[in-house]
């Protein structure tokens, strides 16, 4: 499918002298917007009241969006690699913004199915395309520091939630004077509808700015002082390329799928339950030593570690290697989970410290995976391969909460649970991390039979010649 010429890849090939530090803000402009997906809890209660429905019916909106993220990233990954980041960011902006506008209409007219269609389906497609759109471009601009580059962009996804949560509260306060953000007050449906309208328009402008400034490096470009032959000396790092179609036929792809699935499922186990979990761990009879406001603070702290881990651990992987850093995420994470289950309830600071480091590994796992893919499969279609791997995220998004909620449902009723009730769920996560650890250990260089012929044209060249 051809794209309009102003979006075409050959229109955005950087001239000699272009400064590559303009690319991270372009990527952040997209990821800071789509990261809003993790801030949906802000208006969840308002939508339950507005539609007079259950929390599950409203929770489905987010679930649809995350499933669509994985599916669209997998389905459009090759298209994104072929047409370049401007076309991808532009398309993501249109879908993400349209999702909000259709959702706003659904809330205003009290049609919940329109919110499913808008935010869930249309917005979810924008999420998937937007998430992978800048990744391969950043890897090509920063061949010397791919972990740092992808860490910066994917950190933005974590940062997007940090911005959207307080911003949404303040906007709903503006649109509904009766709502002041304190416990017990719920914003009106029209305030949420106006919030969706505002976010849709603001995100459109922001993401289009990213699409406007993004550039791809010219064929053969490399940073000053960077010698690709030095990269080859590191184990598991290839200078060959594997197509997305072939990548999914390799055991390496599926081993990384398992690694990502296990790491994300384990992290979601804590993230989903963060607020009630800390209260339950320190419950004494009917009351908890941890107040509701302190529990909200704990959620905030986890968000900070989730975002920080994306940047810090992914950047660290440039120095210690991708396989070793996943051994840390999964191996040390496993030990921390055991400690959380056994001594986590002995002191609040121990619980907070363990959970914070676990969540930083969760974020790090997300941010480092594109660089790991680039090491194994080369840069040729790394965006498309990354897109296909994100189906692991969709699966984990369903499995993580399912495991925790199923275990907790069998242990008692919310508000009466204690630390011991979480133990079975935590040990299931330990088992999952062990599986992920073994999968990571089994990762070896991709067999040469999957490599593209050396004379194969790059994606950029293919596209340019196709347009000519």
């Amino acid at each position: 499918m051809a794209v309009p010429s102003f979006l075409a890849r050959e229109r955005i090939v950087a001239r000699p002298g272009f400064n590559r530090w303009l690319i991270p803000p372009a990527a952040l402009a997209v990821h800071l917007c789509i990261g809003q997906a993790y801030a949906t809890s802000v208006y969840k209660t308002a939508l339950v009241a507005h539609f007079d429905t259950s929390l599950t019916a409203i929770g489905i909106i987010f679930s649809i969006a995350i499933v669509m993220l994985g599916l669209s990233a997998a389905a459009f990954g090759t298209w994104v690699d072929r047409n370049g980041p401007r076309a991808a960011m532009f398309t993501a902006a249109c879908f993400w913004s349209s999702g909000f506008l259709v959702g706003s209409l659904g809330i205003a007219t009290e049609q919940l199915w329109l919110v499913y269609l808008g935010y869930g389906v249309i917005g979810g497609i924008g999420l998937g395309i937007g998430y992978i759109s800048p990744v391969s471009t950043l890897i090509k601009w920063f061949p010397d520091r791919p972990g740092l580059a992808t860490g910066m962009a994917i950190m933005g996804f974590g940062g997007g939630a940090l911005i959207a949560s307080p911003l949404s509260r303040q906007l709903m306060d503006l649109y509904d004077p009766a709502y002041d953000g304190t416990a017990g007050t719920v914003p009106s449906g029209s305030a949420v509808s106006l919030l969706f309208l505002t976010l849709g328009l603001v995100y459109l402008v922001f993401m289009l700015f990213g699409a406007f400034i993004v550039r791809v490096p010219a064929e053969g470009w490399r940073p000053d002082g960077f010698d690709p032959s030095m990269v080859k000396k590191k184990s598991l790092v290839t200078t060959d390329n594997v197509s997305a179609g072939n990548a999914i036929k390799t055991p390496q792809f599926w081993l990384l799928w398992i690694v990502l699935f296990c790491n994300v499922t384990a992290g979601i186990g804590i993230l989903e339950q963060a607020s009630p979990m800390i209260q339950d761990f320190f419950r004494d009879g009917d009351t908890s030593q941890v107040a509701l406001t302190a529990a909200a603070g704990f959620v905030g702290l986890l968000s900070l570690f989730n975002m920080g881990g994306r940047f810090v651990w992914s950047s660290t992987s440039d120095y210690i290697g991708r396989k070793p850093i996943y051994m840390v995420y999964l191996g040390v994470g496993l030990i921390l989970y055991v400690l959380l289950a056994t001594i986590g309830s002995s002191a609040t600071w121990i619980f907070v410290l363990l959970a914070a480091v676990i969540i930083s590994f969760y974020g790090g796992g997300f941010a480092t995976i594109p660089a790991y893919l680039r090491d194994l499969f080369g840069t040729y279609q790394v965006g498309a391969i990354h897109g296909r791997l994100l189906t692991a995220w969709s699966a984990a998004g369903v499995a993580g909460p399912l495991i925790v909620n199923t275990v907790l449902d069998t242990r008692g009723t919310p508000g009466e649970l204690v630390a011991g009730d979480y133990r079975p769920a935590l040990f299931i996560m330990v088992g999952l991390l062990a599986v992920g650890f073994v999968a990571n250990l089994l990762v070896k260089p991709v067999a040469s039979k999957w490599h593209e012929p050396k004379s194969a044209p790059s994606t950029a060249t293919q596209e340019a010649s196709a347009v000519r």
């Binding site: 001239r15 000699p16 002298g17 952040l28 940062g159 949560s165 000053d224 907070v352």
Partner: protein, 48 residues
């Protein structure tokens, strides 16, 4: 760190420093706002 492109047949052109500063400011300001608000909320864990 600035890294000029080292290959290509097009005329060289430098990226205006003001554009880079503007782009980083545009993404940096909302990020700092979000960080500040979240740190404020997180601090209640230690004070509340």
């Amino acid at each position: 760190m600035s890294s000029p492109a080292s290959t290509g047949t097009q005329q060289p052109s430098s990226t205006p420093a003001a554009l880079i500063a503007f782009a980083w400011t545009l993404v940096g300001v909302p990020l700092v706002y979000g960080l500040y608000q979240t740190v404020k909320t997180a601090s209640s864990l230690f004070t509340g």
